[in-house]
Subunit: 316 residues, 6 copies
């Protein structure tokens, strides 16, 4: 298979790609054609099917994996494919991992690590809550393992949410072991749950975009609600503990202007907001440096909006 | 009855007052005494019971109405009562309205007006939701009629939440009649529900202070949750409509830095945030001018923090 | 007539358009040609006259309506006309309404509604002031009816200032009827006058751009001055009332950082700033949704700078 | 005469003071008495007249200079006078300069310097404008010579406005001589006129407080209007020049959030805003250091709100 | 010894206290007396020596430990001592730890832990630098062990700088072990050095206030300079490494508005700013909760300026 | 010589240009070529050497002055040169002043003026310091005369730092002569040294970009350090004076958010920050107006980011 970013002007391409989008259009002369966007894990590419009714062009839809023959050429400064033949590929013909950006860490290993943290929680109400979501709710577990942690900024890949959650939980574990005012069970539980709403805020890959609900409500409030809902079905979840956990979720962005409706008011909420923010910033830096390396840049990489600074790799 | 703000140095007072707070203490010489705060609608006053075991001092608790005999004197520049006799007053002996700040408007009339707005909603899902909360849930109705809209800033009196909600709803009705892009049913429902969480954020009078839950979670999220919870029990509440209603509640403070986790993204949310903000500001102005009049001030009243300006009455 | 946004590559066009701008230039080979911008209510288009001295090209100037024959072609990704023939069109040959964006409401009806509000003012000083500007000053009346309320953001069309003013006045009337602390005559007068300076800040259509004076001084101060000037010619305009009216005009943007030199300090100024801001925001939303519809977009429309949020149409 | 800040507990005082305020009150026992505030240039002091009908107490009003006999004592930690005798002093009995804070520079000398700057302006329109206000308008000249430049922050003394204006003009003269893009006549004129509105924003000494008009409109807009008014009476004042001058006045605070409705858009406006701001800051520093010296403080003087920093004298 | 916060009205006190300040004054009747402030680790108290020439009053100075006999009484609502006898105490008579707020952790144990971190640095340039400051420079070691980390906000006690530095270093060690993009040697070194300038910004206990140099330059720049100075004396300190280390020190406050002249631009600088900020916030929380407990408060403790939120203890 | 901005499509060019950058690349067909950027004082231009091994193409490097023969053509809307012949030019063949933007003032005359200011300083410690840097340190003098004051914003030309420093010093001299609280020697010295760090923050022309050290540390701290370093080598530089001078350098940007780690706390620091800011703003305006004139624009020039306003030339 030829990866998209390696396609060159003038080549004829044959391979299987994921169809991200497909729309019909009409040329100025009234002839119908199709606009198609294909993607693999190295990027995406605009394609045209000029001869829609050709025998070689079978029917396919967005999110199908399609096997194509196409001619590459540069148009308006960007590479474009003219698709000559297309058919839907069968399940065994391709490896989905080639088509989506994916965590560099093993997802099942990360999940097992998460389970260890859950097992380490002593408080039975909190432990039961964590098991409810992260062990027994299979649909959630599946979503949690595959969702990204963001559309673009950082951890924008399959497994990104799990990787970020695990990292934040680890940092919180460290903080809990170090600062006696921290109640560990509360902080670990808050860390594991803090971005749980992202499983609903972002749609699954390959779309990985904000859902309508996600745009209107946001993952902070959506995660709050998932936890609150669970608690209502329990007879005995201690109310004070519940409110502290919910407060940690609501305040984890640290500042009102970052979308938290409450500022951190208890020690665990302060700790969580730092662990979350530090992981987001350091992963953003890692991805920016990786992209810089990939682009063959050395030295200063220019202004990074999320980090609000010109950045560079440490030479040290 | 002698209102608290009329008590003068050297007087002996006899009357019934609401006990807001009562705590035990010990003098430097080791003698036990009681600190008591009494209030009526004109204010509150510090009291001491120096002779705790006196026959005239019967047992009572915070939030009891007590009938006292006491001596008034100025201590450290503030009026103080030394309570000589005290007993819990019976229900018919006093009028609770004398003890709490209360809306100048008739609460039942305002409630009937609210019902009219509810009846005017055509969409059956929204109407049923409003009836669920504001007609059928008696406990909520009672709380909604008596809660204040704030601890202090504005509408800080019995019936304040109802008065504010009604005013905001009225303004929204006006806006809906005027701007065709507004969907009236959605906006009216959002207006009526926007501060519903305050019934839980603030404790009942005479305490009228933030509850623990209120401090940790805030009325925006608490109100969101009440509406979302209701919807889950319905088989058929349209999801898109629900999310738009919830979005209006979440975004009604208009800006992230005012505690809304989302900025208004649809026309009704914009309209609601203006109606809410305008009512809060104009009522703050009304109360400030009233207080200025009461204090005999004319002209400029000095800097008002909530309005962020030096203010004065219009002479016109 | 072929509207500009419907012109297609390769067509030959014949029709009357408004000449917005015309400048002479020289090709790299030293040959003179003309750059012309034509507009109608659907947009504007770059044109060239390569053969300036051709018999078919009659003399014309910016702001003339000209009848052309031209060839359309795409250049650098944008449609362009090469004008072959051009002559100034006579008055009856075209309908000016086809050439300028215009309010969807009838301008004379809106003006009559404005007169009703003026008639409803009881205070004789304020009424006389309103009549002076909006009844007796014919030049101002004409400008007021045709000016836009902004170069681009919102109400950027013929009649936009009148439409916006009327809407703000209506909302103020509603607020005055509802909040007893408001002095209605003052608020209605302030609402009608609040943007009067825009008749000088913006030049008339089709230019609709900031004047030099407008850029240097701004409509807030210019409107202030018009009212103050009037008052000086009256023997008896009450000074306190005048200053309150002027204060409302100066503070109507609500915040210093939005260009008001004073924050609202009286109730009417607070009310006006809300009515103005709400109308501007809701009209911006209306225009954005309309543009979205026109572009065939559904769902989220992306970030709107003025509303400072990603926006979408209410589905409700 | 004993200056107010030198009065000690237990002394009997005899002297002439300026009555800043006088109000009637009633003791808790129903006896009428008078609250009086007296001032001299060293400060002000609370006084009581307990025996209002005493023969020794003659009638007097606020802003009278009164000759008193009184007993000084400390009450609630502050010095207070009990007035035993009082009569209105005659004109020759006192020197007004003892009663008001006054510029350390000679007012007439400063005025003559101002005239020199006026004479140095070549442009006949600008020169005539300056002469109109600062030579021919005797009432304005008188006010301009005596008004302060602020109620409190800086230059809060008789002659303060003249001193500040002269200093800003001098700095502008320097800038004009140095930066060729600056048009000197415009900048000098703008500098001399920039705070002319303060003659109306602040009432005359000894009141030296914001007038109602001043609070509602502010000196920036009031000064703008004075200049604009003048121009209307001239047949031939060049419009572009006028608007640039007015722009300089409107934008002289440099930022919208400091109350300028426009940001500086031409070089002269930038220059003026710096000259104004630098003089205000350096005079604030001078006054703070002088007050520190007077209070016998050495080293760091604590946080100065206007300078937004902890400050100290240069030892150098 | 009777601790200051246990002194009661009417008691006669005998004990040794640290004299924080001593100034001479004169009563209104011209009699000389002394104002003295004494302190121990529980607080400070105002004292007077009315009979300065009494035989029992020996000569002493600020910062002496003095043995006194004194009468306690309440004056203006605050406890005050009238000192009857006073003499300078000898070294063995008191334990300095009773007179200063001190870290709850053992200072030498903390120092040993710091040395372990230093030993764990592999890079020889960085290790040598750390040994230069924290092993070989005895004067610095002594200061570093005893200085506080702040005048008041957090860690305002003997050993506070060491405790804070160790905690930040530990967190950085954790981050380095977790994020592969981090160069551990650089981050550990930066963590240990980040507040080294505080040894000069704050004067030693019991004064513990900003030095003149500290106020003018600040610990960020002062620490930068100490490290840069060291490097100049080395022949071979790698320049890139040095600049990255200095950058970490300069940017450790994370934002320009918090006094860092540069925003973090490399991963280690980001990590350090989080570790520093998190430790400062969590220690502030710990101290606030401890103070709340000491004051017998339960529930919400009110608004904490540094944490910018109303805070409370976790009940969990 | 044909200046770059005068090159036209289709021309063949012969002339000497400065090579700013040179990199090797490979075409899609695998053929090696060279990307070259040439510059003169009128701009820069992209060039290609397609036939790298041609006999006419001699070896050259970035920063060489090369004599070329080339064909000009427009590619993707921008002018491009295809270089046919190239050789390194000898020293006498060109005038470097043709290749770099350069101050319009004579550099040696400006330097002499600077020396006069240095001579006017009376304090021997400060004078010796100034002479050390600006007279005796030849390398620094050379750098100081040629460095720009910024990469782009203002004074971005050879001699810019000297021109800016001299201008700021002149303004400070004026302020010192006018405000008695200012200590002139301190202020003049601070003015001359305030941007001394820019000699290291920016690399020499023609690169004129931030150095790695400059990016990491910034000119404020780098200049601080140069002065502090000098002082350490003096036996007797008064410490208080030194700290005041260093404080002026550190705080000269006036606000923390502009990168000063300290706000101005003494009068000289306030004065310096105004003089610096005013010169930067007025020179920015001058350059923007000059560019506007050059581009043939009249009237409003659009929004200038550094001045944060739409700007225009004064017509006066």
């Amino acid at each position: 298979m030829r990866f998209i970013k390696e396609i060159r002007d003038g080549e004829q391409i044959q391979g299987i790609y994921l169809c991200k989008q497909k729309t019909s259009a009409v040329t100025k002369n009234g002839k119908p054609y199709e606009n198609v966007i294909l993607q693999d894990k190295t990027g995406s590419i605009d394609c045209k099917i000029w001869d829609v009714k050709s025998a070689g062009i079978e029917d396919f839809d967005a999110l199908d994996y399609i096997d194509i023959v196409a001619d590459a050429s540069i148009f308006n400064g960007a590479m474009q494919l003219s698709i000559k033949r297309a058919r839907v590929a069968g399940e065994g013909e391709f490896d989905p991992a080639d088509y989506l950006p994916v965590s560099s860490k093993d997802i099942n290993e990360m999940y097992n690590e998460l389970l260890k943290y859950i097992n380490s929680v002593s408080n039975r109400y909190l432990k039961r809550l964590l098991e409810f979501f992260f062990v027994h709710d299979e649909k959630l577990v599946k979503a949690f393992k595959s969702t990204s942690a963001a559309k673009s900024v950082h951890h924008g890949f399959v497994g990104g949410l799990l990787e970020h959650t695990l990292s934040v939980t680890g940092t919180c574990d460290y903080i809990a072991s170090k600062y006696p005012i921290i109640k560990r069970d509360l902080l670990i539980t808050a860390a594991i749950c803090h971005d749980i709403g992202k499983t609903k805020e972002l749609s699954a890959f390959p779309v990985n975009d904000y859902t309508d609900e996600g745009n209107l409500l946001g993952h902070i409030v959506m995660g709050y609600e998932m936890v609150k809902d669970y608690s209502k079905k329990q007879d005995d979840f201690p109310e004070g503990l519940l409110n502290e956990l919910l407060h940690c979720i609501l305040s984890h962005h640290g500042e009102l202007e970052f979308g938290s409706p409450k500022k951190p008011a208890i020690a665990e909420a302060i700790a969580l907001s730092f662990a979350d923010n530090a992981d987001a910033k350091l992963e953003t830096m890692r991805e920016a440096l990786e992209a810089g390396d990939a682009a063959g840049k050395s030295g200063w990489l220019g202004f990074n909006r999320y980090l609000d600074s010109n950045i560079r790799k440490t030479m040290g």
